[in-house]
């Protein structure tokens, strides 16, 4: 009854594991930021692009994608590669948006020429991609976006601005949604490949509450884009965007996007380790049932998330194909936030010490991590929007919009 791996899959798993073991890159001089979307420096960029290229060569990325589009042409091996990458606890892939969103979008909706032109450099990491969806007036209500695209012969002229653009300062291309019809909210949006190096594109960093310049505002001022950089039909942009957002996790898996290279248990295990090391009232915090209860609860819920993924694959037990996958974003990000809040409580006054303070636990990374958890709970559809989606699509409750 248990699913068994084929001999080919077993060999490939061994091959991935051995390669990752032998090719783990040395640490960077300045520690890497906690996530790929926070990378800002050229040094980190170069280090990570180099790493992604090596992983691509080792067939860990685009494993199952056709050779015609720069992939490795295997079948049923990507999942194995991705799970081994996560297990190995190695640096993340900087082209996370390229792998996670651009590649699936192009594979489903792109022309032959687009697939052949853009996919190979997404896989190697040579061309970094960013996402141009949100605008100052269009966040949770994304369909309200106002950036315009006006046809001019074989070209389009883009005007407007995008915001919260992670990797914007390093990216060569943007997944760009622009309005082609002001009178049709949903069918008036078109999807483009936006070149970031064209005239009229201005990238201005935005500093987060952490102090890091993790994302950007992007101004588009009479930017000219050729029509062959349009993805799918005029007016279908919203549908294309929604189909790739909802299939994001599955489709992203298909090319090897690994958003976080840490084991999901790494954070809670290091917190338990901290509880065993730190004392309060003259005894380890782990021996105090108050802290222990909270820590075990978080471990239990981390295990629940892992077991949810296991149950998703069993049709008779998953309650419908999308019920569990659609919960992943809201539960994962909120769990991470709770975990960091607990870490700060456990550290007490030490939690006030930030990066660079010699007395800070783990160089202030719990504090930095706590603030960065809001990236997860707000971006990519806030937790509130996620709960609307779950209530409406899974439970059939009336739409709140």
């Amino acid at each position: 009854m248990a699913e068994q791996e084929t001999a080919e899959q077993k060999d490939f798993r061994q091959q991935c594991r051995a390669w990752l073991q032998e090719n783990r890159p040395p640490p960077t001089a300045m520690p890497l930021p906690q996530a790929a979307y926070e990378v800002t420096t050229q040094a980190h960029r170069n280090y990570l692009v180099d790493w992604q290229a090596k992983c691509f060569e080792a067939e860990l990325i685009a494993t199952d994608v056709s050779r015609d589009y720069g992939g490795h042409g295997h079948d049923g091996l990507q999942q194995i590669a991705s799970s081994e990458v996560r297990r190995a606890n190695v640096p993340y892939f900087i082209n996370w948006i390229g792998l996670g969103m651009a590649a699936p979008t192009l594979l489903i909706h792109g022309t032959e020429a687009q697939k052949k032109t853009y996919l190979p450099t997404i896989f190697t990491g040579e061309d970094i991609w960013c996402q141009g969806f949100s605008e100052p007036g269009a966040g949770s209500d994304l369909v309200n976006l106002q950036t315009s695209a006006v046809r001019d012969g074989d070209n389009w002229v883009i005007n407007g601005s995008k915001v919260w653009t992670s990797l914007g300062q390093l990216a060569k291309y943007m997944l760009l949604l622009a309005r082609t019809d002001k009178n049709d909210k949903y069918n008036g949006i078109t999807y483009f490949i936006g070149p970031m190096e064209h005239e009229g594109v201005t990238v201005k960093p935005i500093h987060k509450m952490t102090g890091e310049a993790g994302f950007n505002e992007v101004f588009l001022d009479n930017v000219v884009i050729a029509d062959h950089m349009r993805i799918d039909e005029v007016g279908l942009g919203w549908k294309v965007a929604m189909s790739t957002l909802t299939s994001e996790r599955g489709a992203a898996q298909g090319v090897g996007a690994v958003a976080s290279s840490n084991s999901p248990f790494a954070a809670i295990e290091s917190l338990i380790e901290l509880a065993k090391r730190k004392t309060r009232n003259g005894k380890p915090m782990w021996d105090d049932s108050l802290w222990r209860d909270k820590l075990v609860k978080l471990y239990e819920r981390t295990e629940a998330a892992a077991q949810n993924a296991r149950r998703t694959r069993i049709n008779a037990l998953n309650g419908g194909a999308m019920r569990i996958p659609l919960q992943g974003k809201v539960t994962g990000t909120e769990l991470g936030q709770e975990l960091h809040q607990l870490a700060l409580s456990m550290l007490g006054m030490e939690s006030s010490l930030y990066i660079g303070d010699p007395n800070a636990e783990n160089d202030g990374s719990w504090l930095l991590g706590y603030m960065n958890t809001y990236t997860g709970t707000i971006s990519g559809g806030s937790s509130e929007i996620q709960r609307n989606i779950l209530g409406e699509r899974v439970l059939g409750l009336p739409k709140s919009k």
């Binding site: 248990a2 295990e303 069993i314 008779a316 919960q327 009336p398």
Partner: protein, 382 residues
């Protein structure tokens, strides 16, 4: 701190399990246990008057369940059973919970797993098999392993044994009005042993608790010089070995009940109109219902994972079972709370079925220990 081990990717839940689960759901739906329960408990609402006894159940349905093989499914083949996995038993237990069905099935399955553990690892293996045979023949059973304090340690019995005679009182015995025999834990000179005894044996006296859960019954059993069969010399090892199965079966029952609470509340939020809209339109209602779903899904996943860990004899099986019961206990509290609240006045009435489920999952929340207890236990494995 090993992570979840490489076990079967599908929890060992295959086509056979899916078919059985489907059969169980249809059988329970067709039986409409709540209609019978309503009829049997009619006029017993007022807690200050009368001395009504709960615990009615559909005996004909029970015989059918035995005939369908549900009680024999986890009995080892050596005792004439089907020798199936805990995951299989969990699939059925989840449906019992979803239907809030009054039945001694879960107690009988739990007793089965204790006896099965004894048959596998104890010197009294042969005696355990004899009692397992009775289950195959249609006997029902329950565990009498708790003392008056309600303590949850596996050796917390008030019963003593000397010269094979049991003396003392066992408390919080589930389904006592429905079962034929008991698996009793008792101490002989401080050493825990397990015994089996028919409920109608000489010296056994039962008094019934007044409990709030309409779907179950419970009682105290006093033993005066009762002659019983020893089925395990090393009672603590056997009970500890079976503990993950006991916890997981209750967790499954809760997960089924919570799914019912979720679906019923979501359905109500689509039809109940206030301020000119179905109340499910409002995010103050919609979002807590989604939170119920998230809670139920965590519990179901941890429950099947715990069952799979037990079936694989994994060294993480105790931790997995404590996680499952911790999570399910918390889901029980949360889902019952939200279901009643979001139904408004009608959910607070005797008339509405939400109260039946609310009380059943509350009762289950405490069985073998709630979330706080489970997390204390799980911590020993982290």
């Amino acid at each position: 701190m090993a992570q979840s081990q490489e076990q079967s990717k599908d929890f060992g839940f295959g086509e056979e399990q899916a078919l059985l689960k489907d059969q169980a759901r249809k059988f329970i739906e067709d039986n409409q246990p709540l209609l019978a329960l309503r009829a049997a408990t009619k006029g017993t609402e007022d807690p200050y008057h009368g001395d009504e006894r709960r615990g009615s159940f559909d005996v004909a349905a029970w015989h059918e369940m035995v005939a369908l093989g549900w009680t024999a499914l986890a009995v080892p083949e050596a005792a004439g059973g089907l020798g199936m996995s805990l995951v299989t038993a969990v699939a059925v237990a989840e449906e019992i919970g979803r239907g809030a069905m009054p039945t001694p099935l879960t107690s009988t399955l739990q007793s089965t797993f204790v006896l099965r553990q004894a048959s596998e690892q104890d010197a009294k293996s042969q005696q355990a098999i004899e009692w397992l045979k009775k289950i195959v023949e249609g006997s029902s059973a329950s565990l009498a392993i708790q003392g008056a304090s309600g303590s949850l340690e596996v050796d917390a019995t008030d019963i003593t044994v000397k010269n094979n005679k049991l003396n003392g009182v066992a408390c919080y015995v589930q389904d006592i009005q429905k079962v034929d025999f008991l698996v009793v834990s008792a101490k002989e000179a401080g050493h825990l042993k397990l015994f089996c005894v028919e409920l109608n044996a000489e010296g056994v006296d039962v008094s019934y608790d007044r409990i709030v859960d309409l779907t179950r019954d419970q009682g105290r059993v006093s033993f005066s010089d009762v002659t019983a069969t020893c089925i395990a010399e090393s009672g603590e090892d056997v009970l500890n070995g079976a503990l993950p199965a006991l916890l997981t079966l209750v967790s499954a029952d809760i997960a089924g009940g919570c799914e019912w609470l979720l679906q019923t509340t979501a359905a109500y939020a689509k039809v109940r109109t206030q301020f000119d809209r179905p109340i499910g339109f409002f995010q103050a209602v919609k979002h807590p219902i989604v939170n119920m779903m998230i809670a139920v899904d965590e519990s179901r996943s941890l429950t099947y994972a715990a069952a799979a860990a037990y079936d694989a004899d994994s060294d993480t099986c105790h931790r997995a079972a404590h996680f499952a019961k911790s999570n399910a206990s918390d889901s029980a509290e949360f889902c019952a709370n939200r279901a009643t609240q979001l139904h408004g006045g009608i959910g607070f009435t005797w008339e509405h079925d939400v109260q039946i489920y609310h009380k059943r999952v509350m009762h289950s929340q405490q069985l073998f220990g709630d979330g706080y207890w489970q997390r204390q236990m799980a911590a020993n494995y982290l």
